[in-house]
Amino acid sequence: MLLVVEQFLNGLQFGLLLFLLAAGLTLVFGIMDLVNLAHGSLYMMGAYFAATFVAWTGNFLLGALLALGATLVLGIVLEVVALRHLYGRDHLDHVLATFGLILFFNEAVRLIWGPAGLALPLPPWLTVPVPILPGIYYPAYRLAIIVVALLVALLLYLGVMRTRIGMLIRAGASNREMIGALGINIKLLYTLVFGLGAALAGLAGLMQAPILTVQIGMGENILILAFVIIVIGGIGSIRGAFLAAVFVGMIDTLGRAFLPNLLRQILSSTAASTAAPALSSMLIYLLMAIVLVVRPEGLFPANRR
């Protein structure tokens, strides 16, 4: 029981983190029609910035805030210097150019921080276990991630659905020409959206940093998970990304935790321990395959243009 609840929350926490990443990706794709592989690099940069700023200031929250700001600025610079010129080009061009950016970022990180990973230690007040149910404790930090991510998801939802900027964003997503014709500064809007996406990726990276090691290439594996989420959820749909992210986070976490035991019930224990790691890492891709067969457009496709 204890294990189930704990793994369930771990799955939720991982899923929400994936959502932060996927939301930025899907926003940028839905609005600017830009496929940004370097989104994972922004996640990585968020983590590196956090590790650096926290060590520098000696304060976790302050360091995290600085890192968030730094990723936002980095995103904006990236958009203005490079990605802006890719709008309207084919997707293949996007893939290639942003692939180049990944090479660049990975190498730049190696140059600046060295090839070894960094650790981002948590302050003591975030490491205490918190009772969530009578007799069941859960690490405060993971709980904090869940709360922060849910809060961000809510803000994002309200922001996109209720505010003027959000309306512009939605209008841009469904009718690019119109928004231009209304005399809205579309360049600025795009830059802001990209910055927002970058900040979300950075937030995901810096929050994940204390749980995993901060290392080169950390953004790439998780980026592919974000792709899977977008495919499952439907491109351009924030709601789809949210549900798919939580779903994928759960399946992945629970699969890894419980599949070996399940297999052991059916197969011999050697066969099970051979098959389990491969099978549990396949689970989400199988899920994606099923969604593709049933709903090629994803579960919640955004309004088609």
């Binding site: 794709f29 496929v35 893939v95 290639l96 660049f104 190696r110 140059l111 491969a278 593709l292």
Partner: protein, 314 residues
Amino acid sequence: MKALSVSKAVTALVLAGLVLLPLYSQLSGNIFILTLFTRIVILALAAASLNLIMGYGGMMSFGHAAYLGIGGYAVGILAQEGVGSGFIQFPVALAASALYALVIGALSLRTRGVYFIMITLAFAQMAYYVASGLARYGGDDGLTVYKRSDFFGLIDLSSRVQFYYLCLACLFGVVFLIWRIVNSRFGLVVQGLRSNEQRMQAIGFPAKRYQLVCFVISGTMCGLAGALLANNTDFVSPAVMYWTRSGDLMVMVILGGMGALFGPVMGAVVYLLLEEFLSQITEYWALIMGPLLLLIVLFGRGGIMGLLGRADRG
């Protein structure tokens, strides 16, 4: 018309260079260059297979490195299990790649555009994780191939020169096949589908099955490259399937010029030599390569073959 002859001349020069390379290596005693070019030739073969679906078929696969791994693991696993004959290893490598391509293609072709890119990428990553989970065959650390494929003494893969020529023959064979295919009935249909799928459906072609067959052919060809690559490095690991390798292959195709027959060969030669060259200048070569890719995308449409004034499609 002059530009046309320039591109042909350059292509011929490069091909002649590839054929004569072992001679140079022998005369100069530079063994390293032969090793380097064996790798280049094998990856050129992989890139050429990718060009078939990407350049001619318009299917932007971002998961082509999966076949390098599947072909490689077929050789490695069979060798580990005591089956050393290349006459078994290679057909198994091709068949396994074809099967994977069939399943992945059938699923991925349900979608298009960006979805297709993401899905082929995701499935290749799945293959990567599956390979990492193969504890019996080295898992993350990979699998050493202690003995190269044995072709009953017909050809000795342990001889650098013989192996190089085998790879080169495979490359030329595949490029020849692709040339025939793209000009055949089948090839015209596939290219027509790239150009205007709605029109092709309206004149009576069911799009998916042609695209799927093309996808399978391409995957099988790349599986051959995988089997050769495992023999070349005497080693196969999940890393050959890593997505950056798929990205490398795409870059080679685009750098060379999509849909140009010899484009991928040129792309592979230039890209890998550039990588080699930059890594000799600085340890941080990707710091230059990355922005260079960006610049190529922004300013170098049509790739090398385009630059040489060749427009294969008129």
